[in-house]
Subunit: 548 residues, 2 copies
Amino acid sequence: MANKLRVIPLGGLGEIGKNMMVFEYGNDAILVDAGLMFPENDMLGIDHIIPDWRYLTENRNRLKIHALLLTHAHEDHVGAIPYFVRDFSNVPIYGTPLTIGLVQGKLRTSGAKGHPTHVFEAGDILRFGPFVVESFHVTHSIPDCVGFAIDTPVGLVVHSGDYKFDHTPTDGWPTDFARIASYSQRGVLALFADSTNAERPGWTKSESVIDRAFDEVFHSAEGRIIVATFASLISRIQQVANAALYYGRKMAVAGYSMSQNIKIARRLKYLDVPDSLLINIDEIKRYPPEDIVIMATGSQGEPSAVLARLAYGNHRSLELIPGDTIVMSSHPIPGNEETVYRITNKLLQKGAHVIYDPKAEVHVSGHASQEEMKLMINMVRPKFMIPVHGELKHLHAHADIAYALGIPEENIAVVENGTILEFTEDTMTIGERVPGGYVFIDGTGIGDIGPAVLRDREALGRDGFVIITGVMDKKRRKFVAPPQIISRGFVYLANSGALLDSAAELAQQVGESVTNGNLNQQVEGAIAKMLYSETRRRPMVFAQIFEI
Amino acid sequence: MANKLRVIPLGGLGEIGKNMMVFEYGNDAILVDAGLMFPENDMLGIDHIIPDWRYLTENRNRLKIHALLLTHAHEDHVGAIPYFVRDFSNVPIYGTPLTIGLVQGKLRTSGAKGHPTHVFEAGDILRFGPFVVESFHVTHSIPDCVGFAIDTPVGLVVHSGDYKFDHTPTDGWPTDFARIASYSQRGVLALFADSTNAERPGWTKSESVIDRAFDEVFHSAEGRIIVATFASLISRIQQVANAALYYGRKMAVAGYSMSQNIKIARRLKYLDVPDSLLINIDEIKRYPPEDIVIMATGSQGEPSAVLARLAYGNHRSLELIPGDTIVMSSHPIPGNEETVYRITNKLLQKGAHVIYDPKAEVHVSGHASQEEMKLMINMVRPKFMIPVHGELKHLHAHADIAYALGIPEENIAVVENGTILEFTEDTMTIGERVPGGYVFIDGTGIGDIGPAVLRDREALGRDGFVIITGVMDKKRRKFVAPPQIISRGFVYLANSGALLDSAAELAQQVGESVTNGNLNQQVEGAIAKMLYSETRRRPMVFAQIFEI
């Protein structure tokens, strides 16, 4: 292992989200990001998913983990920190001022306020054992993002972070092209670069195109305007504030996470919003509708966030008024389409005007498209290229781009989480695999839910359950308390008395005729068979018959 | 009701799918389409959804239903027929030759072979009581599609069916523009038109652009080619057959529904595929990979269809070979994205090349985009405009288009299923509402599953259940058989012995200390509270304690 750089992706490779990478040389390591991922539609009951960092805990005696370095403060890059700090209370966290500001809020609410954090500015150089880490500013959809150029004993490796090349970002701070280009002069061993939009031709549009769309909305809206977006989309909040100032509307914020983020971003001067513009959400009734704009969370359809509550009419203090204009300032993340469209339809049904992307350009992606990826690769000119951040199809599409730019096929690695990549000064080898899968968070449980429980949940969600209980006289083989049925999720109980009655009768018959073998199992088998033949459904069937 | 035309949408308005409309004058009625809809991700365990035609069954004594007229043979227009014919065994079904051919297959497999069907050709005129129905040919993504111009005592109404204006369709049979335009000369009271793509600017591309993409695929693929698409996409099958002939590959078909459709379409001469081209799926091993193309079902990620089985390696006779080229010749329907992308990733992981839309133009939509919608409206020049086929957001977007073309706002009706529209010679009134919701099909159950069961399924899918049973001596208030716990979907049982043991102990304590009130309820309450405080999860908790 000595003389080799080992890079281990624990998240973000072969999936969207929970980004995390380990850079290891000898017994020294640094980490980049610790994000979470939102469950897919069939991961029933799961709150979210964090990386499986067993490799780190299992090697904690050998490895000195110098730092967790953060590229930016989106959930898919920092959301696992509350769990990470429980396992690694001595690993300091490094990030830019806004990133650390937002992460500190997270640490406070999770009871880890005292965890060591350090702030650096984009362009700063940090030393951790054999690693010299230089950060470089990139544009994305939250301010103060960086990528890292990590100098190691075998060469310089570059990690892009999430990026797009926005020449006119909302904060006026474009990507540090000069610094990125300078790495190629030093010679770059490997580039790890964001693949999210590798299927999209052309360039991703600048955040500034949204200003024009907002201008049109603010110009023509006759009632209140409600802008729904991600709580962390600080630049979008700035854009709305600018439009509100220009058109003389007051701005209120609905949603705890967004309010907190705005507070932090204003304090750190990443948001320029005068006090006079902001009003409390409870004050909006004092103003005519045409003087109000509300920033709200829930643009991904999250059922407990503001937008869903408005659509379904169950928000504590806010109610939709016909004539409201709702701006959906985000794109649905794959898997959320159905929920987002359903909310859109519900809002329309309640008489709101709803503005969303194909109707007006009220959102643009925060990730590089194909032409930007080409520019990144050609600026960095790496020997080896490893597409990161994306499902396998995105990684492959990014690899195709690298190949088209002249990087030899054998110098491009498309790998999934947990695959160790080993680098010497002139080689890259795909090594063994370590755990890199999902750790499910459900309530207070971390990783206790696995595929077996999810399979049960799926079966229960599909066809419900039927349970037969009763008490039988062991000697006489007669029920003293006849079989009772408990069932949910299988049939509509009010209409299915006859079916369940005949199940109870069958249970009694079978139960009293069993002479050897497992009584419960035989009852279960008979009932399951009967129910399937009657309904073509397969509920989970259990029997618990007491023999006394 | 006399002197008025009543139009009642029972499906397709405010949703995608299960299209169905009633046209009624006095006591005469005709129906257009009877489709099904696929369940959304949170409709757990539901197989599919059919229209709620209670209005028709409740009025069956009053109404003479002359005919069910079909626009085309896609599932969302004909899929409810097997259920429809059970309730309306005397209502004859009318369609074009291919449509009736495909529907007859459906009737046979559902045991209604003898149901009366009638074939008409596009352009034919049919009379049903006060209605004179003229069909007109439109292009879509299955051959032999029509719309209807229905002459009624109050005026002419036009129903577009699903359409796009494809000037170079695969079968060389473009939309009958002349006939559509002729209606405006007769004066059109109302237009009911497809809104599916009302958010898409421009024109939908012709099916023929796919030929170029296929040519590129067939030209460069070195192994087998597997094209996955809808079983009913007859024109796509023709395109693949053409490419196979040109490039000297044999074509095999995997998937029962597609094989059946091909058989019917060939017999009726809607598919021009020579015998010499086709081989049986079991014969493919006799040919080198580069001589084979396979047509397969499952492009929407359906778990039991061919593509998913290839991805997960559980197909009966077919196995993926590294070097296979998979063409995903369809777009994921909203809600299916996650599953489709997961299969794409799985196929890539197994070493296949996967071609899908943004990478190559291997699919185009079958529905009109905005410019086509404008052309339809301007050709027909209706007095009243009713957007149909789409979620509320699509209907609104289509209404915006109609308004932009000069149709007054009050002459455009955006309504949802079950809303009665009443027409006289010069008025349109939005009337009362009749049932227009979902009828869920689950196993053999039609409509027995409603919101209550779905809510239970959701709760079970999220957190599972816990059931406590036991036997207590009624007099002594002591358990003679101590509490037993059955649980699934809540915690991983192998690791949760202690938690469930303490639940059983608590149940015993509480049970034995209950002196009055409902024993089971009190145990349930105590256990639910304890489990929530330990896990922050809320399983369904039931107690069934026998007192003997």
